[in-house]
Each structure stands twice: as structure tokens, then as C-alpha cells.
């Protein structure tokens, strides 16, 4: 478990005391206590992640390693998107997950109004700017644009956002991604 050595035994015994009472919520609480540096959204993440894993019957011995891995990734993405229902990346991710597995149990997106502005606007802008700006500035902007395109591919739903929204969404997405990685790391440590 990922515990500090000084209060390891205390936390572990507290954790074990919940085992006799087999209610799911209390066990979860014990697991959450055992996690270092928990912030509210990480606790929610863990809970949603574990619930999703349960729904996918993850302990089924009949599953292949690859099937189980896919189920784990799916549950992780779903948990991440559920914690932030308002974000655009979250809705894009949910839509993506629904398409992948075509299940009606996946939560539908709250709002689907996507802005298809991306390509048209940038072409027009690039043409106007290159005429006016010095060559060095134009090249620099080109590099930024290319990098921005890469970012759009990485962030879910990034293709249909304007610059400002993209940066905003990236910030939010990064936070959740970091939290998800931390949650999964703790789970791995707990099982090893």
C-alpha cells in the first residue's frame, strides 16, 4: 500500500477493521483512507473507477488479459469523464466511449453542441497574417499552429474548439489525467 511508514500499521489496521463489515461503501472508505494525498475528486474517481470495474465483471477468470485491460481502460476513461460532466473534453470522451462499445448503459452526453469552426477559420487567418507579418514571426506562428494541431488530436474533442477553449480544456483534462494516473498507481501498489 502507498502509506507513510510511521502510520502504516495504524492505517492498515483501520483498513482491516472494515473487512468484517462487508458493506461496499465501508470497504471503499478504508481503501480511500489508505491513499496518500487524497483530494475530493480523487476519492470520487476511485469510487467511480471501482464501480465501473465491478460492472464489467473484472474478476471473471474467463477474460483474456487483453479483454481485461480494455475493460480497465474503459472504466478509467469513463470515471474520468464522469467527474467532470461540464467540460467539452468530457462530453467528447463520453461520445467516444459510447461509440466504442455501443452500450446504452454509458451515460449520454449532457450537451452535444460542437463548434465545427476549426479548419475554415485557421486557413483564412493564416493567409491574412502571412501577408502582413515578417517572415520570422510567420514561421514562429506556423510552429505554434502545428503544435496546436497535435494538442487538438490529444485532447478529446479538441478538433472542434477555438484556441482559448482548447487551452482551458487542456488544463482541465491534464488535471484529471494526472489524478487518474495517481488512482491507478495506488491500486497497483495495493495489489502488488
Amino acid at each position: 500500500m502507498c502509506l507513510g511508514t510511521s502510520n502504516k500499521s495504524f492505517k492498515y489496521s483501520l483498513f482491516l477493521s472494515f473487512v468484517n463489515n462487508t458493506k461496499f461503501r465501508l470497504l471503499l472508505f478504508g481503501c480511500i483512507l489508505a491513499m496518500q494525498n487524497t483530494i475530493p475528486s480523487k476519492q470520487v474517481l476511485l469510487k467511480t473507477f471501482l464501480t465501473g470495474l465491478r460492472r464489467r465483471n473484472i474478476t471473471n477468470k474467463g477474460m483474456t488479459l487483453l479483454e481485461r485491460k480494455r475493460a480497465i481502460k474503459f472504466s478509467a476513461d469513463l470515471a474520468m469523464a464522469s467527474v467532470r460532466k461540464e467540460a467539452k473534453w468530457s462530453n467528447a470522451l463520453m461520445a467516444d466511449l459510447s461509440r466504442k462499445f455501443q452500450r446504452k448503459t454509458v451515460l449520454p452526453s449532457k450537451h452535444r453542441h460542437v463548434v465545427f469552426r476549426g479548419n475554415k477559420v485557421s486557413k483564412h487567418k493564416r493567409g491574412a497574417r502571412q501577408r502582413r507579418a515578417a517572415k520570422a514571426t510567420a514561421i514562429a506562428k506556423c510552429i505554434v499552429k502545428k503544435r496546436e494541431q497535435v494538442l487538438r488530436r490529444l485532447v478529446p474533442g479538441g478538433k472542434c474548439m477555438d484556441e482559448c477553449t482548447l487551452l482551458d480544456e487542456t488544463l482541465d483534462y491534464l488535471q484529471l489525467l494526472k489524478a487518474q494516473v495517481d488512482v491507478m498507481r495506488s491500486l497497483v501498489k495495493a495489489l502488488e
Partner: protein, 84 residues
């Protein structure tokens, strides 16, 4: 939150850039000391890619660990009852 391109101020973009800069881990931050937009975007992209890779790797390990959970380990039993 502004909706049209022309009314996005320089200050807002700078604020977003500095927030992004703050989110990157320390090791990556040193390389982009001046926080120029291009370098920052590059670092952000490579950071997101590395996080995706890590999720992939962790999913692999979790899949293996769950499939080979030892019955006698009390910790494994706890996790297993969480997942049942």
C-alpha cells in the same frame, strides 16, 4: 468566458499559458523557463502522451495483477471483495 476570437485579450491568453506552465511537472518546467508558446505546447503534448502511455502500462499491470490475485493475501481479498 469569451466566445469570439477577436475579443480574447492578450492577458487572458498569458494567464492560461502560465496556468498550463504550472501544471507541468518540475523536470519539464526547467526546459521551458521562458514559457514561449511553442515550447510550452510541445511540452504539454509530450506530457499528455507520456500520461497516456502510463495509463496504458498501468492497465496492463492491473489486468495481470487482478487475474493472478493470490487467494491468501489479505490485501488482495479486500480489493477483490471491492470488485465483486
Amino acid at each position: 468566458m469569451t466566445t469570439s476570437r477577436s475579443s480574447i485579450t492578450e492577458a487572458e491568453i498569458n494567464e492560461l499559458i502560465s496556468k498550463l506552465h504550472a501544471l507541468l511537472p518540475e523536470a519539464r518546467r526547467r526546459g521551458t523557463h521562458r514559457a514561449s508558446a511553442a515550447k510550452l505546447l510541445k511540452e504539454t503534448c509530450s506530457y499528455i502522451k507520456s500520461l497516456h502511455r502510463e495509463v496504458d502500462d498501468l492497465s496492463d499491470r492491473l489486468s495481470y495483477l487482478i487475474s493472478s490475485m493470490d487467494v491468501t493475501t489479505s490485501q488482495a481479498e479486500i480489493i477483490r471483495s471491492l470488485l465483486r
